[in-house]
């Protein structure tokens, strides 16, 4: 059974959803605390959404120096799966495990609503269950979600096909780019595809009784790691 560590920081608030989503797809999911110095044998490190350390200074800026982040970085460097959702994505960027940064939304408002994403990359630990071009509707909920990078980095991400999900207008009524992200980028990965960050919240859409199970394939992709389809 694939072991998934949900990394809890003071101020994480999507940790229980993330744990439950991982359990739903058959993973052995457990919490690790920000003061822990190991991932307790986990094969996947899942950094959930929330407001770690109150978003003080910059979103994710303080969390990246938590003791547990050393273990996360080592896990990532060894090729282990590391996934950051929302605040988790912000932390991964602050920790330089992913390039770019997430800054205040273009419209300044906190944006909380469903968005349509187009899956552009399927060779990652969290999107292997999709087909390239799939459209998936999951919510965003963030104030600092505008992805920015310098022109060279942006060109590299696009040139190497490292954009994992992009905001898309699948039908009227759902805004295409909710926060002003460069190139409407909603999620990116490293070259190997084992480190992925995304602003939207698939863990909130894993049960039809709660609205939709559209986010489940992200977690099925993770659970497939345990089946040996990826290491």
């Amino acid at each position: 059974m694939l072991k998934v560590a949900v990394v809890r920081f003071p101020g994480s608030n999507c940790d229980e959803d993330a744990l439950r989503a991982a359990e739903l797809v058959g993973c052995d999911a457990f919490y690790v605390w920000h003061r822990d110095t190991s991932l307790k044998g986990a094969e996947v490190a899942l950094l959930p959404g929330g407001f770690s350390y109150g978003d003080y200074l910059r979103s994710g800026a303080i969390a990246r120096f938590s003791p547990v982040m050393q273990a996360v970085a080592e896990h990532a460097q060894e090729g282990g799966a590391v996934v950051g959702v929302c605040n988790g994505f912000q932390i991964l960027c602050e920790a330089h495990l992913l390039p770019g940064a997430l800054v205040r939304n273009e419209g300044l408002s906190f944006v909380s609503k469903p968005v349509d994403l187009v899956v552009e990359r399927t060779d990652t630990v969290i999107t292997s269950a999709f087909t390239k071009g799939d459209i998936v509707r999951v919510p965003v909920a963030h104030g600092d979600g505008r992805f920015v990078a310098d022109p060279e980095t942006l060109a590299m991400l696009e040139g190497e096909g490292r954009v994992v999900v992009r905001y898309a207008a699948a039908d009227a009524g759902v805004e295409a780019n909710p926060n002003g992200s460069m190139n409407a980028i909603a999620g990116i990965g490293n070259a190997a595809g084992n480190i992925v960050g995304l602003m939207p919240h698939p863990e909130r859409m894993v049960d039809a009784r709660l609205g939709s199970a559209a986010g489940l394939p992200f977690f099925r992709s993770l659970s497939a790691l345990g089946a040996g389809s990826r290491t």
Binding site: L57, R58, A61, I62, F65, C93, E94, P99, G100, A101, V103, R104, N105, E106, G107, L108, R146, V148, A149, D150, G180
Partner: protein, 83 residues
Amino acid sequence: MTYRVHVRVMPRGGLLDPQGQAVEHALAALGFPGANEVRVGKAIELTVAAGSRDEAEARARQMCDRLLANPVTEDYLVQVEDA
């Protein structure tokens, strides 16, 4: 010696600064039409114990590079004075 350090962190030029834009619009609405190019950053103050002013500044710059500013999106300015 103790030195007082002032750090000014600003969004990088060229990067959209929606806070600055909002403040600029508010200033115009208040009857200050000549107020332009508003940008909003942050100021951080601290004291640093160091052997010299240069050492204090070097330490402050390390703090900026590692934590106080994000090199992707922000520029910083460090000023050091005797505490």
